[in-house]
């Protein structure tokens, strides 16, 4: 048996598998996020070579209660028990795409009790502070990260924000987008959230708490089922937007955009 423990967003999950090729994919894909510390979650990874159902999108459904879930896509089938903190993963394809998709769903749910969200956003840190830039595909997340040579990448695609006891922090994320490289694995206090939009000039506009919440929520990875989990997502998002200054950021694709980001 191989056992690898990942630490993502401050939460450690041990993945146990009797398939060396699965362990090898995980070890290579999540190289910067491996730890030897004790795990909070246990996930058993198996292989189902006969293949799975033809589902392009991830389906998450309760099975035996709102806190026991089945997660399915064309390349994997999984279960998650949110109370026991255990999961099983049957892979139809031994590749990092199936594992990554499963982990995005699993961590979006497992991190909720700790007050953390996975957000469709780029995030960067400079001088000990983190900025998050939510937006759908094509909104400029990758462009902005490429314009930020003097900033540390936390993520170009799926950012992790967490309401820690000493304030909201942004964690480096292994869940990448077009850049195909992981974020730096550290946690940085949040400076601001900027919602991206293309413009012909740089412009930063402050958002009120309600407006910020309503533009943040569509960018949250949201696989929660059942009223308690949905309410928790809303609670964390509301607290985040109340505690972190939020803006819309219109920008031209030029490095000078940081002149308006840093002063907002």
């Amino acid at each position: 048996m191989d056992e690898l423990t990942l630490e993502i967003g401050g939460l450690r999950s041990a993945i146990v598998t009797r398939h060396p090729e699965v362990a090898d994919v995980i070890a290579r894909r999540y190289r910067g996020f491996l730890t030897s510390a004790p795990a909070h979650w246990w996930i058993e990874a198996e292989v189902r070579p006969e293949g799975l159902v033809a589902l392009d999108d991830v389906v998450v459904r309760p099975t035996g209660g709102a806190r026991r879930l089945e997660v399915e896509r064309h390349d994997f089938l999984a279960t998650l028990d949110l109370d026991e903190r255990t999961g099983t993963l049957w892979l139809g394809a031994i590749d990092h795409i199936a594992i990554d998709t499963f982990l995005r769903v699993a961590y979006s749910l497992a991190l909720l009790p700790a007050g953390a969200l996975l957000v469709h956003a780029a995030s960067l840190s400079r001088a000990g502070r983190a900025w998050m830039f939510p937006g759908p595909s094509g909104s400029g997340k990758t462009t902005l990260t490429r314009l930020s040579a003097d900033a540390d990448l936390l993520s170009d695609e799926i950012s992790i924000v967490r309401l820690d006891s000493d304030g909201p922090r942004c964690y480096g994320s292994p869940f990448w987008g077009d850049l195909a490289r992981p974020g730096e694995n550290h946690a940085v206090p949040m400076a601001a959230i900027h919602f991206l939009r293309h413009a012909d000039r740089h412009a930063v506009v402050p958002l009120g708490a309600r407006e910020a919440l309503t533009v943040l929520l569509p960018n949250v990875l949201f696989f929660a089922t059942g009223p308690a989990l949905v309410a928790r997502v809303l609670e964390v998002a509301a607290e985040l937007t109340a505690r972190v200054p939020c803006f819309t950021l219109g920008f031209r694709p030029e490095p000078s955009v940081w002149e308006v980001i840093a002063v907002a």
Binding site: G208, A209, R210, L217, P218, P227, V230, A231, L234
Partner: protein, 96 residues
């Protein structure tokens, strides 16, 4: 205007900012935002208030005549019922 008492879907997650509600549907996680009049109706939908009584409160709070408020409120309630956020019940639920 529907008879009966308006009752929120207790599974919906919601909060109010400056008199305007943000609601997440429990079934499909759809986000809904309400204006101040809609928020008043939503907050009043406790299972113990009829739409007519709520419309009277709308008229007292906002500068609108009863006929206009009743027509608009009925359409709004119908919309929220179709989205699974409200139901109209014949009798108030027992106190918790």
């Amino acid at each position: 205007m529907p008879d009966g008492y308006l009752l929120q879907n207790v599974r919906a997650a919601w909060r109010v900012y400056d008199g305007e509600a943000v609601i997440i549907s429990p079934e499909d996680s759809t986000l809904h935002t309400l204006n101040p009049v809609g928020t008043l109706i939503w907050e009043a939908a406790d299972g113990h208030s009829t739409l007519d009584a709520i419309v009277t409160r709308v008229c007292q709070t906002f500068a609108v005549d009863h006929a206009t408020a009743a027509r608009d409120a009925a359409a709004f309630v119908d919309s929220l019922c179709q989205r699974g956020l409200l139901t109209v019940v014949d009798t108030p639920p027992p106190a918790a």
